[in-house]
């Protein structure tokens, strides 16, 4: 019995110290001077983290927009409110689905890749040799990746939203026969740029920071064996996904909680 309690205590202390390490890690990585050719390093990471996630984001956005229109139409038509399809698709995407789903996809694709890459660098002692040569790996390896993730996810979110709305248009207007004018004009009337679009972008900025932070930290902190790498990669996807969903609730409550 006491053995279990002690184990629980140890686990709590371990978790707390790991969160503390993660926090210090973030602060040290963000507030450090960029290394020479820092812009180039960032650019490279923008490619690996952002550009290479575009395909999955576009395809998913398209399908989600199309399904939203399909499902939404069947429900709205029973209220005679099918003209509201445009605003339904746009609001769902812009406020919730684009930031959240893009972040989840990002965590799975880019997040796990980041963890694995940094973990492999740790396991093959590249990070150690970098330190021995006198270069701080936080500056050269971690910081560019953090900034790339922070900038990429909002862009991916916007692309997701745009493609989703277009997908909704394809299904709603071209296929199901909603009047083209009302799809767009109802949408324009009800979607507010600052309250809806910008709030969605703010969400994606927060998600970008949190997901990339988790991914990079898990890679940096892991036990440098192949088992350690695979466990850390799984942890990145799980923790990042849960964090996104949890933060989404908090942000939504803050942003949209007192509307209407």
């Amino acid at each position: 019995m006491t053995g279990h309690i002690a184990a629980l205590g140890r686990a709590t202390l371990d978790t707390l110290s790991s969160i503390g390490r993660a926090g210090l890690f973030l602060v040290q990585s963000i507030f450090c001077l960029p290394p020479r050719e820092g812009f180039h390093l960032w650019l490279r990471q923008m490619h690996f983290v952002g550009v290479m996630s575009v395909a999955i984001v576009l395809v998913s956005g398209l399908f989600i927009g199309m399904v939203l229109a399909l499902q939404g139409f069947t429900i709205l038509v029973s209220f005679g409110a099918d003209e509201a399809l445009g605003q339904m698709v746009a609001l769902s995407l812009v406020r919730e689905l684009a930031p959240v789903v893009a972040a989840l996809l990002f965590a799975g694709r880019a997040g796990s890749a980041l963890t694995a890459e940094i973990g492999l660098m740790k396991a093959t002692e590249q990070l150690t040799s970098m330190e021995m040569i006198g270069v701080d790996p936080l500056r050269r390896i971690v910081a560019p990746r953090l900034w790339a993730g922070f900038v990429s996810l909002p862009i991916l979110t916007v692309l997701f939203g745009v493609v989703g709305i277009w997908g909704g248009y394809l299904v709603g207007v071209d296929w199901l026969g909603v009047y083209k004018g009302s799809y767009w004009s109802n949408m324009q009337d009800s979607v507010n740029f600052v309250d809806d679009v910008l709030n969605g972008v703010v969400k994606s900025l927060v998600f970008g920071l949190v997901v990339t932070w988790i991914a990079v930290f898990q890679g940096y902190d892991l036990i440098p064996t192949s088992e350690g790498i695979s466990r850390a990669t799984t942890r990145t996807v799980v923790y990042a996904s849960l964090a996104v969903l949890g933060l989404d609730f908090v942000l939504t409550a803050l942003m949209f909680g007192d509307l209407g």
């Binding site: 650019l43 745009v162 009337d189 740029f193």
Partner: protein
């Protein structure tokens, strides 16, 4: 290095796509561009009940958008709702001073907006004037109550 050129190009296109996407979301999706013109004049109106009217709701005449609601406050003198709106200044001095303002609902359960209807009076409304003839929002519960009490009779 050739690899770098493609990389830079790719990232540049990526970022540009993001910005364009945001512009699209601004203009086509949220109707940002269809915002207020620079020159506006202000009118106000008091309503017994504003229902679900919110600031930034549109103000229309014959269905055409001519302005938006900028402020809704409780009037301390009359204890009703004072709604301030800004209209495109090309209508300054063109609306008769017996123009009515009604709170209408778009669709059955949609959001509420203000619809103006001109009257026939010779004098015109100017910047800062008050619209006197107003029709409050239809509140569903009051409607149902009226219906039920009519049925009971």
């Amino acid at each position: 290095m050739k690899r770098n050129k493609f990389l830079e190009l790719g990232v540049g296109i990526f970022m540009l796509a993001g910005i364009l996407g945001l512009v699209f979301l601004g203009l086509r999706v949220s109707g940002l561009g269809v915002g207020m013109p620079n020159d506006t004049f202000t009118l106000s109106a008091n309503f017994a009940n504003i229902g679900g009217l919110r600031p930034q709701a549109k103000v229309t005449m014959s269905g055409v958008r001519i302005g938006e609601v900028t402020d809704i406050q409780l009037d301390p003198k009359w204890f009703d709702a004072k709604v301030t709106m800004q209209l495109d200044s090309k209508y300054d001095g063109k609306l008769s001073n017996d123009t009515t303002a009604a709170i209408l609902t778009s669709g059955l359960l949609g959001e509420q907006y203000i619809g103006l209807t001109v009257g026939g009076a010779p004098d015109m409304l100017r910047d800062g004037d008050v619209i006197h003839d107003t029709q409050q929002a239809l509140v569903l519960e009051e409607l149902i109550q009226k219906f039920v009490s009519n049925m009971a009779k």
